[in-house]
């Protein structure tokens, strides 16, 4: 069974996502909404990680067998300026999408295993991930025209 590999992948990509939200928050203090909301969303991801702990315990988190190339890479550093903000938000979006799909994959397995507890968790967490992605998309759309047309 390879579910433990994917549970491990979920766990590590959530950690990357939480870190990335915090990095973007720290790197864009001059955009107060980004700074604050990224903190809020990082905490939301922390809570997901916490909720995932019993699952990890149950299925075992097969870190050893988790091939390195499966991992989602986190953010290296943040950029500056209007276009930099756009790019950083886009990185967050990509990471979030990866997490989103990972939840879906784990959810499919949970269905096959009739694991109600895991199904419930996937359900609740996927909703939050969707909210994160929607916010990112909204903020990117808002920032794009000015950054690309008028920014100096």
């Amino acid at each position: 069974m390879h579910l433990p590999v994917y549970v491990g992948l979920l766990d590590s990509s959530l950690r990357s996502l939480a870190d990335a939200f915090r990095q973007v928050s720290d790197g864009h203090g001059e955009e107060p909404d980004v700074e604050y909301l990224c903190q809020v969303l990082a905490r939301q991801v922390d809570e997901q990680l916490e909720a995932l702990t019993p699952v990890v315990r149950r299925y075992g988190e097969n870190r050893e067998q988790e091939p390195e190339r499966l991992r989602a890479t986190g953010l290296e550093s943040t950029r500056s300026g209007g276009v930099g903000l756009l790019r950083d938000l886009q990185d967050l979006y990509m990471l979030g999408s990866f997490v989103d799909m990972t939840w879906t994959v784990v959810g499919q397995a949970a269905q096959g295993l009739r694991d109600r507890e895991l199904l419930q968790l996937v359900d609740a967490c996927e909703q939050d991930t969707t909210r994160q992605l929607q916010w990112l998309q909204t903020r990117i759309k808002q920032a794009a025209p000015q950054a690309l047309i008028a920014a100096k």
Binding site: D33, Q134, A150, K152
Partner: protein, 842 residues
């Protein structure tokens, strides 16, 4: 004769539930002017708060010399409050801007209109050529007239095509609009002021009505002094007159820690659900989202709420019980919610309380998501705040096409590729230099925006071109490249709409001073000089005066919720103001909306597809459509999160800012009315008795209040607030005292640049601060004793009163109350549901 500085609300005219509010005619004339001296009375309505009290302006020898209330008007039944009586006309003629100014070698010098306007047009053209329309930003007001906003909106949206236009309404009323859109699909006040006359319980959420809308409070007081009086519940960290009334009426005063409103509201909704005070029939037929709402509020038990908000669990239960068991409940919401953390979510929960019990659209059952400024409703309707005119949805291609057709322009010109840029973001773009042309009209951001040190830096930016259009020199005109002298209230004609949708006509009473022009004329002149054209090469703006602008606006509203097509200047002359929607089928206007519980949520009419209330992420149109709202309202909320800038060891107090009854905005008018100025001459810092003792501060001591961003200094009033919170009045800038580097007195020196994710309204009410004593005081603080700033120990401070010139005539019962405006069974502009009844019960 009454001194209405000392006796703010005047004499009582009590009445019973469900009967009409009696008339009382209030009249105040300049000292030495007798009624027989008045040559003309000119119809208008007061523009010193959102209440919109109808009045007549007294004119003598070409000068405004007083006012009286209009007894036949549905809003005020003849009454006026202190600002209306003493502040609406007394500024007249004093210290005005009378000639255009341009900056030459760093100095502002007088010039003529041609030179000033040409300079604007030249810079405007150059930037449009070099960068495009995104280089232009417009920051307007909540104090102009409808015709002016609509003209500005059309110039920005159909002429230049810039998405960067907003009003200072972002600071005062954006959350009202946002909460209405999220719950009901569109802006538009559900309730009416008449609901006060027949409610059994009145909930005021962050709304110090006794000070902010004094005439509305008179209406409440007349119920409280009559038989079968309503119970009041006040949510406010300060012990306001409203809070006193709550206790006296057998209701509750809840004083949550600033920044925790949403936790409190989630707790109230939790109680409604767990105690079974829910109208299941109404909820299933008229709402969507009950399950998710119930899930989100589940954790907010009275005990948990008590921990977060520091209110007693029993008080919370009592408040919920009053809401859950009273037959008719009216709620009002204002800045305590709007300018605080998680503003939209908390305000939506007020809508939810009413939806859960089906208390909407009937006499005494309503929601009033209030406005701050007098004409804020029009900023929102007309497209001057970024939203598209007529409550149109920027994501709905049909709505864009309607506007393109109406204006006869290419649809691609109309900015709808991204959400309209809200004020806070406009300022950020100015800061970053991507907006280089900023036109500020009828507002004073250098005193009213949060974090003033930052705003001054932005306005001082080297290559920024700033146009300021105002009636007075202000803190902001100092930064202008061009200053345009504007005519003000009483000096120009136009209409405006108050917080309960009532439209009034304000006639010109006197000539503007010097070369001052109406804001409408200035905008029209700009459009002409810019040679803005439609698709056929005709002038884009086809109107030339207020009445023709109003007629053009009517066409823009046809078939929409804010339908003005049944109104005209003639109809608004004489008699009462009329609440929209007003069209051929509803010629007398509409008192209340949504009587049948059908809301404008159908995708083809809604103003917005909604947002996630935690993050502000927009709901994708396809998701919205898939929900099939079909006229049902949305029950939305979010989880509580701690506010940014939480108190710490270094900054242990939470500071909130607000108004006093005697002033409006940055006092440019009220500060020039003698009675008002005397009543509240200078700023103060309000401390609780407990905090004052711990700090070793006595009444009148000079203290410094400091946040991470800035500081202000003023004498301390030992007031009646809750421990841990500090209150500052936000009215006091520097136009009459000197520069901020001498003694900083503006509350906004220390407020934060942070906003609600949905409404984008800044968080004025939660700043972590520290307080230090600077010097012992010589006398007590200059804070009024008549209101929420009353001293903890009344014996120590002389009472606030007017001088003999404050005398006001009050004539109760001189006329019959005005007739009742009908409420349509089905709301105009709202599609009938299409799903069969059974399918609507999800």
């Amino acid at each position: 004769m009454t001194d209405r500085i000392a006796d703010i609300w005047g004499q009582r005219t009590p009445h019973a539930r469900g009967t009409s509010w009696p008339v009382r005619l209030d009249q105040h004339l300049e000292e030495g002017v007798a009624e027989s001296d008045v040559q003309r009375w000119v119809q208008s309505a007061c523009v010193l708060c959102s209440n919109g009290c109808a009045c007549d302006i007294a004119v003598k020898d070409g000068r405004m010399v007083g006012v009286r209330g209009r007894t036949d008007d549905v809003v005020n039944h003849g009454r006026l409050g202190p600002k209306g009586l003493y502040g609406s006309w007394q500024w007249n003629g004093r210290d005005r801007l009378t000639r255009p100014l341009i900056r030459e070698n760093g100095e502002l010098v007088e010039t003529d209109w041609d030179t000033a306007m040409d300079r604007i047009v030249q810079r405007s053209r150059q930037l449009l050529d070099e960068v495009g329309s995104s280089s232009h930003g417009f920051y307007t007001s909540g104090q102009l007239f409808l015709e002016e906003y609509y003209t500005l909106g059309v110039i920005g949206k159909a002429g230049l095509g810039t998405p960067h236009m907003d009003g200072n309404t972002r600071l005062c009323t954006a959350t009202a609009a946002a909460a209405l859109k999220e719950s009901f699909g569109s802006d538009g006040q559900p309730g009416s002021y008449t609901d006060i006359d027949s409610c059994d319980a009145l909930f005021l959420f962050g709304h110090n009505m006794a000070e902010t809308q004094t005439v509305l409070w008179m209406r409440v007081l007349d119920r409280l002094h009559g038989p079968d009086r309503p119970r009041i519940v006040a949510v406010d960290p300060r012990r306001t007159k409203v809070a006193d009334a709550a206790v006296e009426s057998g209701g509750v005063h809840l004083a949550p820690l600033p920044g925790t409103n949403l936790a409190l509201m989630n707790g109230l909704v939790n109680q409604l659900i767990t105690q079974g005070w829910v109208d299941e029939e109404y909820v299933s037929a008229h709402t969507l989202g009950f399950e998710e709402l119930a899930r989100t509020v589940e954790a907010y038990t009275p005990e948990k709420v008590s921990e977060i908000c520091r209110v007693s669990p029993d008080d919370l239960r009592r408040a919920a019980e009053i809401f859950g068991t009273s037959e008719r409940v009216l709620s009002t919401v204002l800045q305590g919610f709007y300018q605080s953390h998680q503003a939209t979510a908390a305000s939506c929960q007020v809508n939810n309380l009413h939806l859960l019990r089906g208390l909407l659209g009937r006499p005494g059952c309503g929601v009033l998501q209030m406005n701050g400024q007098p004409t804020a409703q029009n900023t929102r309707e007309c497209g001057a705040d970024g939203d598209l005119p007529g409550f149109r949805n920027w994501q709905n291609q049909n709505h864009i096409d309607q506007l393109a057709e109406l204006w006869n322009v290419d649809r691609l010109v109309i900015p709808h590729w991204a959400p309209p840029t809200h004020a806070m973001q406009i300022w950020r773009y100015v800061e970053q230099g991507s907006i280089d042309f900023l036109w500020i009209s009828a507002t004073n951001p250098a005193a009213s925006m949060p974090e003033l040190p930052r705003i001054r830096n932005i306005l001082g930016r080297e290559d920024l071109f700033v146009v300021v259009q105002d009636g007075f020199p202000t803190e902001t005109t100092e930064f202008a490249d061009v200053v345009l002298p504007a005519a003000m209230w009483g000096e120009k004609q136009g209409t405006f709409t108050n917080a309960d949708r009532t439209v009034h006509l304000s006639e010109q009473a006197v000539e503007p001073p010097g070369a001052a022009r109406s804001d409408l004329d200035i905008f029209l002149d700009y459009a002409r000089r810019m040679d803005l054209r439609d698709r056929d090469g005709e002038p884009l703006v086809k109107w030339h005066d207020p009445e023709s602008a109003f007629e053009a606006w009517k066409e823009c509203t046809r078939g929409r919720l804010c339908d003005y097509t049944g109104l005209s200047y003639d109809k608004l002359r004489g008699g009462s103001g009329v609440p929209w929607p007003c069209n051929a089928e509803n010629p007398d206007g509409s008192d209340r909306l949504y009587s049948d519980g059908v809301f404008p949520t159908a995708p083809e009419v809604c103003e917005s597809y909604g947002h996630d209330l935690l993050t502000g992420g927009a709901t994708p149109p396809t998701n919205y459509q898939a929900e099939r709202p079909d006229g049902r309202a949305f029950l939305k909320t979010a989880e509580y999160t701690p506010a940014p800038d939480a108190p710490s060891d270094e900054y242990p107090y939470i500071c909130t800012t607000g108004r006093t009854v005697y002033h409006f905005h940055t006092r440019t008018k009220t500060g020039r009315g003698r009675q008002l100025r005397k009543a509240a001459p200078e700023p103060w810092v309000e401390l609780s008795p407990g905090d004052a003792e711990a700090l070793g501060v006595d009444e009148g001591d000079l203290v410094r209040v400091e946040s991470r961003r800035g500081a202000m200094e003023a004498p301390a009033r030992i007031g009646r607030g809750r421990d841990g919170t500090v209150f500052l009045p936000f009215h006091y800038g520097y136009w009459d005292t000197g520069a901020p580097d001498r003694q900083p007195t503006a509350a906004n020196e220390l407020t934060q640049t942070e906003w609600d994710p949905v409404s984008k309204q800044p968080l004025f009410k939660v700043s972590a601060v520290r307080v230090t004593k600077l010097a012992p005081g010589q006398r007590c603080a200059p804070a009024p004793t008549t209101t929420a700033s009353a001293p903890h120990d009344p014996a120590t401070v002389p009472a606030t009163r007017g001088d003999q010139g404050a005398e006001t005539r009050e004539d109760p019962g001189v006329a019959d109350p005005p007739g009742q405006v009908p409420s349509p069974e089905h709301t105009p502009g709202v599609p009938q549901p299409v799903l069969p009844h059974a399918a609507r019960r999800s």
